[in-house]
């Protein structure tokens, strides 16, 4: 819940002075109190937010040139690809392009270094202690299919931004593959894409 609230731009409150100054900008007598204007503004903003969250679809914000790996791709290649493209997660596809799962950094962490390591820092610590050799040893010979999260959560191109945001927060994930009707990979939407979507075309702030 807290996560969602931080997203909500309605909470960036407009001040009483903003309203008062705006009312002064409109010459002539306005038959309404500043408090009512503020309430109206808040409600209108909420409606606009709802409308945008529901009218912008996955296809509008997704990255279409999506990098993916095969189920049979060795993990060392998966790691290399993720490093090379600077991505923290990658979809895993079958031979025919159907999405079979998703691999994120977290999936690597949770299989590495023995005792329930879950983060980069814990791995680094294990590595520096050097007692157990390379923490990646246990998965050196494995392939993408062995560690991917599966079945994958995927959305279709017409899924609204609102639903995608909910998938992220409910499942504590950061990206979701976009598939066509047959389940084939056509794109990916990350948390950043969702946030950036409606704001992408905004003018920069004046200094």
């Amino acid at each position: 819940m807290a996560d969602q609230k931080a997203y909500n731009p309605v909470d960036i409150e407009i001040s009483d002075d903003d309203i008062y100054e705006a009312m002064k900008d409109i010459r002539g007598y306005l038959d309404i109190t500043p408090a009512d204007v503020k309430e109206l503004y808040g409600l209108a903003y909420r409606h606009a937010y709802e409308r945008i969250a529901c009218s912008i679809k996955a296809r509008d914000v997704m990255t279409a040139q999506v990098i993916s790996v095969k189920k049979t791709t060795p993990l060392k290649d998966v790691a290399r690809i993720m490093a090379e493209y600077g991505i923290s997660g990658v979809p895993v596809v079958d031979e025919d392009g159907t999405v079979a799962g998703v691999i994120s950094e977290k999936d690597f962490f949770s299989r590495m270094g023995g005792k329930g390591t879950k983060s980069f820092m814990s791995l680094l610590a294990a590595c520096m202690e050097g007692k157990e050799g390379c923490p990646a040893d246990p998965i050196r010979a494995e392939t993408a299919a062995d560690i991917m999260s599966s079945p994958p959560l995927a959305v279709e191109a017409h899924a609204p931004l609102r639903d995608i945001g909910n998938i992220f927060s409910e499942n504590h994930i950061n990206r979701v593959p976009v598939v066509d009707e047959t389940g084939r990979l056509i794109g990916i939407v990350s948390r950043t894409d969702v946030l950036r979507g409606p704001l992408l075309k905004e003018r920069p702030c004046s200094p």
């Binding site: 010459r27 007598y29 038959d31």
Partner: protein, 180 residues
Amino acid sequence: MIRNYFTKMKGASKSPPPVGISEILWSWIGAFLGISTVALISYRVLEGKGLTMIIGSFGASAVLIYGAVKSPLAQPRNLLGGHVLSALIGVTSYQILHSHIWLAAAVAVATSIACMHGTKTLHPPGGATALIAVIGGKSVHSLGYLYAIIPTAVGASIMLAIALLVNNIPKTRRYPEFWL
């Protein structure tokens, strides 16, 4: 709960900003022209014919249609609808309840507010128009339902015409916001 009830009496907002000098001037000009037109017709043309073109509630309408031109309450639908509807209700109340004049007055005003609300024609001076139909004395009572036409409908229409002509002269004003 009780505490909340009394807290609400403290008020929750501040007074809207003041208007500029040109706004004040245009309000004066509009009101002067509007009222002088209906008053002239009333006292120079209709005097002695048992008719009138001006009623007290027009003073209140002038505040709205020349002084608060953006207000939903000041729009043509409200001005004409509110006055005519209230006049009909006022005359009816008097004719049915004239033996209990206090009751006729209360029913006239309360019912006209309800009907104006229900028809989206709320216009505060309408309440006065309904009340005048009851407490306005012989000269008003003798008009019967004609009261709804002269002075009410015709007088309000003249005031509306003046509002259209005057309120659209200054760059900073426009009237109406809507017709229906």
